[in-house]
């Protein structure tokens, strides 16, 4: 039972990937749909998508760092 933390890290990493994937996928889908409807607004749409994308990515990478810390600090 002493290696249970590795199980938790594995599940947690999977959840991080699922969450980040859903988030980035929804952002990309929204941006693509918006650009398809209104191609002339593509610059504004991309600028508006950038910031939440990077915030999302930051949260995901924080989760990965903490998962790594659980493995290393054990």
């Amino acid at each position: 039972m002493e290696n249970l933390h590795l199980f938790g890290v594995g599940v947690g990493l999977g959840l991080i990937v699922i969450g980040a994937g859903i988030g980035i996928g929804r952002l990309a889908a929204g941006a693509a749909e918006g650009i398809a409807r209104q191609p002339e607004a593509s610059d504004k749409i991309i600028a508006a998508v950038n910031l939440p994308l990077f915030l999302l990515e930051g949260v995901a990478i924080l989760g990965e760092v903490f998962a790594l810390l659980i493995v290393l600090m054990k």
């Binding site: 930051g58 990478i61 790594l68």
Partner: protein, 309 residues
């Protein structure tokens, strides 16, 4: 990647791989710094490899950015050519698509230089970490000059893991984020005055119970912004390197698991192209992270200046 492998002969490869990777991406230990310096007020100022990388970054930025721009500005006929074309394009991009939309045209000229400094410093610090020049020096040192890996006083051995990203160290990015933190305060103070800047943290005209919740949240948020900047940059720069090293380490792990060198070579057929592909991805990450740090700094400064309540 090269040095740590031979330090412990009795333990198995599996035990060494993790230490080797961490040794590569982390700072050199304070027992074996590059240059020993005395304690100042109880703080060890010895030069470690990340400090050394910061010096290299400073020299490269000075040679590649500051000196050409100074020369260009002193010319009578300012028509950009060669390297200056690229610099002008980058500077114009940062000013027009990061600083101006987020900070506003009134304060663009005030804060564009700082955002540009952030961008070039982080870009070069990230990029220099990807160039394996010190690993190459280590190969030369080991196989041509025949210096053993255990020799801690050899300068190249001390530098051997030096080809790391200085921005992969949390302390470096924390220092950058602290600069952003104080810039937000100064920008808000310059735009609205000291008292008004602090009043602007919360929207006016709400019922008083809301403020009991809102004021602590805003104060926590003030510190979370630079913390998120710190973690994002450092974790991104460390994570990519760990991924590359872990994939390369599969060769050693599988070779030991099946007890044959042929298996290791077979795995190399997969892991070397994969590591190359991730290195390519890292080039994008280097550019994007420099962009993100500057963009978020500009957004936070803009939030202090353009208060939407």
């Amino acid at each position: 990647m090269i040095a740590g492998g031979e330090q412990t002969h009795d333990s198995s490869v599996m035990d060494q791989v993790g230490d080797n990777i961490i040794h590569h991406v982390s700072n050199s230990s304070l027992d074996h710094p590059l240059i020993h310096l005395p304690l100042v007020f109880g703080i060890d100022l010895s030069v470690t490899k990340h400090v050394f990388m910061l010096w290299i970054v400073a020299i490269v930025v000075a040679c590649a950015i500051i000196i050409p721009i100074q020369k260009y500005l002193q010319k009578n006929n300012p028509v950009p050519s060669g390297w200056m074309n690229l610099l002008e394009m980058i500077v114009k991009f940062i000013r027009d698509s990061i600083v101006k939309p987020n900070i506003g045209s009134k304060y663009t000229e005030t804060w564009a230089p700082m955002i540009l400094t952030f961008f070039f410093f982080i870009l070069f610090a990230n990029g220099i970490g990807l160039i394996p020049i010190f690993d190459l020096l280590g190969v030369l040192n080991r196989f041509i000059f025949q210096v053993p890996a255990s020799d801690n006083h050899n300068i190249i051995n001390a530098l051997l893991h030096g080809g790391v990203t200085a921005t992969g160290n949390f302390n470096v990015t924390a220092a950058l984020a602290v600069i952003t933190f104080f810039t937000i305060l100064i920008a808000g103070t310059r735009a609205h005055g000291f008292i008004n800047h602090w009043k602007n943290l919360v929207p006016p005209g709400l019922a008083w119970p809301v403020y009991i919740i809102l004021i602590p949240i805003e104060i926590i948020g003030m510190f979370v912004k630079p913390f998120a900047l710190t973690m994002r940059l450092a974790a991104n720069m460390t994570g990519g390197h760990i991924a590359i090293l872990a994939i390369l380490s599969f060769m050693a792990i599988f070779a030991e698991m099946f007890n044959s060198a042929t298996t290791g070579m077979g795995v190399a057929l997969f892991s070397v192209p994969l590591a190359t592909a991730i290195s390519g991805l890292e080039i994008i990450v280097v550019l994007v992270q420099a962009y993100v740090f500057t963009l978020l700094s500009a957004v936070f400064i803009g939030m202090a200046i353009n208060v939407h309540h």
